[in-house]
Amino acid sequence: MSYVGMPTPSETPQETMAKIAGTAAKMKVVIVGGGVSGLSAGWWLARSGAQVTVLDKGIVGWEASGRNGGGASHYQSPLFEEEQRMWPHMDELLGYPTEHQQERLVIAISPKQLNQYHYLAKMNNDMGYRVDLLTGDQVRAMVPLAGDNCLGGMHYRFGGHANPQRSVQAYAWALQDLGGRIVQHSPVTGFETEGGKVIAVHATSGRHECDAVVVAAGPQIQALMAKLGVEVPLAAARAEMIVTEPAPMMPIGGVDGNGLYGRQTLRGNLAYGGGPHEWLETFEAGPPARPSSPLTRNLARRVAELFPKAAHLNVIRSWAGIVENTPDGRPIIDRMKDPENVTVVTMSGVGFGLSPASGHAVRDLVVDGQCSFTDVAKLSLSRFDGIGADWREQRGWQPAKAELAA
C-alpha cells in the first residue's frame, strides 16, 4: 500500500497511530475552522487522546475544502512524503470512504506544455520521486479519451486524488467517533487570554475552554488572528470548476494538463478547474456568495481539447470556491510565541491533498512544540515579518471593490 515512485516509508501509519495514542490525554483543544486542515488536525489530536472541539461558522468542508479538484500530488511540499505515506491508508484509518486513487498523468497538447512537463518531471526525478515521460502514443494507450492532438505527457508514479467532500466528511465523522465534538453554525466571536495563553474560545455556541487552539479558518484566519494581535497576511480569490456527465472509466482517473487541474471521479464524471481567478475582499463572516462566471466556457473548451473523445459529453454543473493565499503561496504552519498555545495553519490553496500530513504536523506543534517528521521552519509566519500593509498592491492582487463584493 505504498507507491512505486516514492521512498519506502520507515514506519506504517498504523505504527504511528499506536505511537501517538495517549500522548495528548486530557488536553483540551479547540479547532477554529472545520475545513480539511482543521479537521485533519483535530483527528490527529483526537488519535493522540486530546479532547477536541471543532467550531465552524457553517458546516464542515463547505468552503474550498469540499469543492476543490481533489488532487494529492504536491511534491513541492515538505509534507509530501508524509502525505504519500498516509493517503493509501486513510479509508481504513478513518473508517469512511475518501475515494482515494493512486498515480497521475499530465498530458500536453502544445509544445510549450510538453516542455514544462518535462521540466517538472526532471525536478521530481531529482528529488527521488519517479516520473516517467510518455510519448503521444503512450498517452493515447493509457488515456482512452485523449486525442490525436496529444503530444506526450508524464506519468507520476506517486500522487493521486480523492473526493473532497467525502474526505472532509470522513475526517469529521472519524473525529466524532473518537469522541471529538463538531459544533457547526458557530462562528467564533473572540478569544479569552490569560498569562500569554488562550484559555477559552468564545463562539455563538458559547464559551469553549481550552489548553490549546488551532486556527484553521481559511480566509477568515486573518480577522481571527487580528483579535489576538497577530497579523497573518492572506488574500482570497475565487476559483471555478465544471463537471460533465460520466464518461467510460479510464484506467488512471487522475489525468490533467492543458492548463487544467482535476480528475475523473469514480463515477466517471470529468471534474476540472483552472484559469484566471478573481481577487476578492475577505469578510469575517465568510464569503457572501460563491458564484461561477462565464469562465465555464473557457474551462469547457480546455476540457474538450484535453479529451477530444469526450467533447460530446454534457456539462452538468459548474461551481466556485473561495481560496486564501499567502504572499508567497506557501503554507503557514506555525505555533505562535504569543499567545503560545495557538497554532495557525493555512495551506495557501493547496490543502486538500496534503491534509493527512498537515494534520500530523499541527498535532506535533500543538502537543510537542515541533514537527517530528519533517522540517517546516520555512513555513513559519515570521517570514512575513515587516511585510508592508500594501503587500497586495505590490503583487498586483487588488481585491474587487468592497462595495461591489458586499
Binding site: 513541492q76 467517533d177 457572501p288
Partner: protein
C-alpha cells in the same frame, strides 16, 4: 473597464468577454407569457430577443429534459427539422412576435445568467448565456424576462424507474405540439385540475384512459372537470395509489394499485403537480421563496429580472399544492421498499438517501453504515447540497429534474418537518446539460489565453521546499511561470 484586480496577469481583470450582442430586453421562454412580454417590449421600441429551448435535441429528451417524457416519445421527435416546424406551427404568436420586430431564436436554451454582485465583479456587464445546437454565446440585456414555465413533478414508487412513467406536462407536449406520443393506454396519477384536464386531453386525442388514481377520498380538482371525466366514463380509483409498475423490455405493461386492482397500461402519467421552473433564478443566486398555493419554490424579488407566467408561480386557486404532493409523497413512500430508486441517474435508493450512504461502487465500512440522516441532523440543520454530494442523489445527467423535489419531500418527511425543512438542493449553471464542445468558447480572447494559469499564478508556490532560499529557486520559478499560458 475594470481595474478591480490590479496588475496580476493571471487575475480575471478584463478577461471575461463582452457579450456578442446586446438587447434592451431578453425574454426566455416563448410560451404565451413570454410572447406577450416580448411583443409588448418591441411595441415600446425596445430591441428584444426571445429565446426558447424547444425543440430540444432528441437525446436530451431521452434524459427527461426539460420534461418527464418517460421514454414515450415516437421516433418523430428525432427529426430536428420536423420538430422545429411543429414548434413554429403550434404557436401562431411566434409569427406575430417576429412581425413586431422581436428577434426569435428557437432551439436556443438560456443556460445561465451572470451578474456582478457578491463574490464577482469581473463581468463587463450582466449577461445571459445561450446555446443552440451548434454553439454557445453570451448576450447582454437591459431587462431580463423569464417565462420558463413549469415542469413535471416526479414522485417515485416501485417500478417508476422504467420507460412509461412520465409527467403530465410532457404528455401534453407530446399529444399536442409534437403529435408524438408513443403510448396507447394510460393511467393518470392525481386528480387535481392538472390531472383531470390531462385525462380529458388524452381521451380527446384518442388515447385510452384507464383511470384516474387519487390518494385522497375524492377528486381534488374543479367539480366541472371531475364531472367531465366521469361523463367520459373514465373510472376514478379513490383513496388509492399505485403500488407498483410492472413491465418488460419496453417498460410499463401494467400497474398494481394499493387496493389490489391491476390495470393494464403502457404509460403511467404523474399528474400530481407542476413545479415552477426556477432554475435560472436559483442558479444566478437569486432569491426564491416557498409558496404552497403557487406550486412550491417560486422566484422572490430579484432586481432587474421579471418572472412571468407559470415560472413566477402557478395561479393561486386556494389549493395547497405542496400539502397535496406531500400527502402523495408520504403514501408512495410507504408503498416503496428500501431499494426503490429515488435518483434514476445515480441509482440512489430510498435507503441510501435516508441513510446518507455513499454510492454502491464505494465500500461501506461499519462506521459508514452507522451514519444516517438522523446522525446528520444531530450535527445541525441538514443542508440539501451536503446530502446531495454525499449520496449523489440529484447529481446525474438529468440535473435532478427527476428527483430534486421528491428528495426534498422525503428528507422533510424523514426529519418530521414540513416541506422546506430540508430546502431544495440548489441549481447550478448550465441549467440544461450541454456538450463540452457547444459550451466551449472557441473564440476566446488573446488576453484570456495569455493570462491562463492552472492555479493562482504564484510561481514561488511550486518551488520544491528544499530549494527555497537557494540559487535554484529562481530557475524553478522562471521555468514554472513560463509554461503557464498555452
Amino acid at each position: 473597464m475594470h481595474l478591480n484586480n490590479g496588475t496580476d496577469p493571471h487575475a480575471i481583470g478584463t478577461k471575461l468577454p463582452a457579450p456578442e450582442a446586446r438587447y434592451d430586453m431578453v425574454v426566455v421562454g416563448a410560451g404565451p407569457s413570454g410572447l406577450a412580454a416580448a411583443i409588448a417590449g418591441a411595441g415600446e421600441g425596445k430591441s428584444v430577443l426571445l429565446v426558447d429551448e424547444n425543440p430540444i435535441p432528441g437525446a436530451a429528451m431521452g434524459n427527461d429534459v426539460p420534461l418527464l417524457f418517460g421514454g414515450r416519445m415516437t421516433a418523430a421527435t428525432q427529426n430536428a427539422e420536423r420538430m422545429l416546424e411543429t414548434v413554429f406551427m403550434s404557436e401562431p404568436m411566434l409569427e406575430a412576435a417576429m412581425e413586431a420586430g422581436v428577434e426569435v431564436l428557437l432551439g436556443t436554451s438560456a443556460w445561465g445568467v451572470y451578474r456582478n454582485g457578491p463574490g464577482i465583479t469581473g463581468l463587463p456587464e450582466n449577461v445571459v448565456a445561450l446555446a443552440d445546437k451548434d454553439r454557445g454565446w453570451i448576450a447582454g440585456y437591459g431587462e431580463l424576462v423569464l417565462a420558463t414555465g413549469a415542469r413535471d413533478l416526479a414522485i417515485g414508487f416501485p417500478g417508476w424507474n422504467q420507460p412509461g412513467v412520465m409527467g403530465a406536462a410532457a404528455l401534453e407536449r407530446l399529444l399536442t405540439r409534437y403529435e408524438a406520443f408513443a403510448g396507447k393506454r394510460v393511467l393518470i396519477v392525481g386528480s387535481h385540475d392538472l390531472a383531470l384536464s390531462t385525462a380529458l386531453l388524452a381521451r380527446e386525442k384518442g388515447v385510452d384512459v384507464a383511470g384516474v388514481v387519487e390518494v385522497r377520498n375524492a377528486p381534488q380538482g374543479d367539480a366541472a372537470l371531475a364531472e367531465a371525466v366521469r361523463a367520459a366514463q373514465i373510472p376514478f380509483y379513490l383513496d388509492d395509489a399505485p403500488a407498483e409498475a410492472i413491465g418488460g423490455i419496453d417498460g410499463v405493461e401494467r400497474v398494481r394499485l394499493r387496493s389490489g386492482a391491476e390495470i393494464a397500461v403502457d404509460t403511467i402519467v404523474l399528474a400530481i403537480g407542476l413545479v415552477p421552473s426556477i432554475e435560472l433564478v436559483d442558479a444566478m443566486g437569486g432569491k426564491r421563496v416557498l409558496d404552497g398555493a403557487r406550486g412550491g419554490y417560486i422566484p422572490g424579488d430579484n432586481a432587474g429580472v421579471t418572472c412571468v407566467g407559470d415560472c413566477a408561480g402557478l395561479a393561486d386557486t386556494g389549493f395547497d399544492h405542496v400539502e397535496y404532493r406531500m400527502e402523495w409523497a408520504r403514501e408512495l413512500g410507504k408503498l416503496s421498499a428500501p431499494d426503490t430508486i429515488v435518483c434514476q441517474c445515480e441509482e440512489v435508493t430510498r435507503a441510501d438517501l435516508l441513510g446518507v450512504q455513499p454510492p454502491r461502487y464505494l465500500e461501506r465500512p461499519a462506521p459508514m453504515a452507522a451514519r444516517s440522516l438522523d446522525t446528520l441532523i444531530k450535527d445541525g440543520p441538514p443542508n440539501p447540497d451536503q446530502i446531495k454530494r454525499l449520496t449523489r442523489a440529484g447529481m446525474g445527467v438529468c440535473q435532478g429534474r427527476r428527483c430534486r423535489d421528491q428528495v426534498a419531500m422525503m428528507l422533510a418527511t424523514a426529519a418530521n418537518g414540513p416541506f422546506g425543512t430540508v430546502p431544495l438542493a440548489t441549481h447550478r449553471a448550465p441549467v440544461r446539460p450541454l456538450p463540452l464542445r457547444i459550451l466551449a468558447d472557441w473564440e476566446e480572447s488573446e488576453d484570456m489565453r495569455a493570462g491562463w494559469d492552472v492555479w493562482f499564478g504564484i510561481p514561488t508556490q511550486w518551488v520544491p521546499y528544499r530549494d527555497i532560499d537557494t540559487p535554484r529557486e529562481r530557475e524553478h520559478q522562471q521555468a514554472i511561470a513560463e509554461g503557464w499560458s498555452l
